[in-house]
Subunit: 305 residues, 2 copies
């Protein structure tokens, strides 16, 4: 099965409350997604960077099983940059600087040999871009999109059009409330479901995630992590484990999605242990399986129930 | 097995953000605990009210399988009163008025025929009172205590003494951080464990609860509730289902505690559906079992993992 991701590639500078920082490291939604999902299935990447993108950064990324034929290096453009600082609680963050650069320009082209992709993750970008990309995959079997508060505020109608064309939607709890006007997260999720998708996953960061699916409900806590270095990319890593698992299993049932969410939780739990994709670069599928098994014991409330 | 609870009985006035309110209704930590636990095992209640405590309120409470021989109606004293208003998020609340009254006086006596109690829940009160009560149960098998931010701030040393004498401690996430100075909830839980108890449960309200036990870890989300009328008593209800289950099973193993936490989650999910103990008064053990089974499907990430 073929998994494709479209989204951002960025050069990040991240500061954490204990005084650590990472300067100009590889980031972006599609990078975290592709790296994590590559432990489940080969991943195709569609994204754009500028002519300032450092060759060693790309070389380093090539250790993941990701096809970068769709990574356009655009002459005369600059790569997306983000500089953020996390608060003491490691959940809230301030954006100190953001330069959209190539992200504000035309979409990267989809290589012809990617057009048979069946599992598609539209990482956060302008919903017009998500819609345009979506149409380029006529064989799509499962399309899941992410979004952010900016598009909910500025492009609610386009987002609703997107929601009528995709299978699954992931967003965080504050975004779900913003999009629907519902304060209760379950009501908010149900209101999103009513907009068209088959399922919605509300991400709650360190508090886990909730699935509302036309055929059922799933609730998962986060993996109990005592070493959080940098939460950047946790949401995309969650999506990566989830989509990677579903694509490898070629199963889109509600039971598969619940299991897939556990894999997503575990990939995210590794991502946050180091800056950038540094921790993801150290693990393998066996490491993931080991922690998923541990997580299953945490969740185990007894066979008798 | 015998389960005993000591804590507050109050007359509450509660306002919720949708404009609903309940005036002068039965509340207090030991009331929520005793009502919920009574679906698992008979419960003994040690608490004090004033001579203003309405007889119909007591009559109504007698529908629960709770022995009230230890409920002292103290002449010349007044019952604890609390008036609170919840914020839009149904999590934060303002206390508009609180009158400690009898809670600020001498502890209620423990009836002699309660002194063989084996499962003991010390609901939130001054830690000196919790310590004094604890000593009156020489046959104790499992002692679990709750606390609040006030005692962490004003009586940290007494709390540490208490922690060295009990088996389990339940507190919410902000209290765990306050008590230990650790921002990460897992590190905070481990720091509490280092103070003496065999296990600690960090309650996160709508985000579930985390168990750190000398023999293992459990993490549970909350039940996905779409109808939250009044969160008052949710924490004590969680403790009630947990302790009720453990006492009925006469099992204090880590696996039993993890299962017990699921029962606690479900009892709390009923409590918040109506004001006071109104919803608890409508359910039975079968209702609880039915929702625990539903919750188990939410948590089910597949047998293959």
């Amino acid at each position: 099965m073929s998994l494709i991701v479209t989204g951002s590639v960025g050069i990040d500078t991240v500061e954490t409350p204990d005084g650590q920082r990472a300067d100009e490291v590889l980031g972006g939604s599609s990078i975290y997604f592709a790296a994590g999902a590559s432990y489940f299935t080969p991943v195709r990447l569609v994204a754009a960077v500028g002519d300032d993108f450092p060759a060693p950064m790309l070389d380093q990324f090539k250790q993941f099983d990701v096809c970068t034929d769709g990574l356009e290096q655009r002459e005369g453009s600059k790569t997306f940059r983000w500089h953020g600082r996390y608060h003491e609680n490691m959940n809230d963050r301030d954006t100190l600087d953001v330069q959209l650069n190539v992200l504000g320009e035309a979409l990267p082209p989809v290589p012809d040999h990617y057009k048979d992709s069946k599992y598609i993750f539209l990482a956060n970008t302008h919903p017009a871009g998500q819609l345009a990309l979506l149409e380029q995959f006529p064989d799509r079997k499962l399309v899941v999109a992410d979004t952010m508060d900016l598009w909910i505020e500025t492009e609610p109608d386009l987002l609703k059009t997107l929601l009528s064309k995709i299978d699954g939607f992931v967003l965080n709890d504050s975004e779900a409330k913003q999009l629907t006007g519902e304060q209760n997260v379950i009501k908010a999720a149900d209101a999103v479901l009513a907009m068209g998708p088959t399922f919605v996953i509300v991400k709650k960061g360190e508090h886990g995630a909730i699935l509302r699916h036309k055929d059922g409900t799933g609730v998962l806590p986060a993996f109990p992590a005592d070493q959080v270095v940098d939460p950047t990319g946790a949401g995309d890593s969650f999506a990566s484990g989830m989509m990677g698992y579903l694509c490898a299993a070629d199963d889109t049932s509600v039971d598969a999605i619940k299991r897939a969410m556990a894999y997503g939780t575990i990939v995210a739990s590794y991502t946050i242990e180091k800056f950038s994709t540094d921790r993801l670069a150290e693990i393998d599928r066996a490491t993931i399986e080991e922690r998923v098994k541990e997580f299953a014991t945490h969740l185990d409330i007894g066979a008798g129930i």
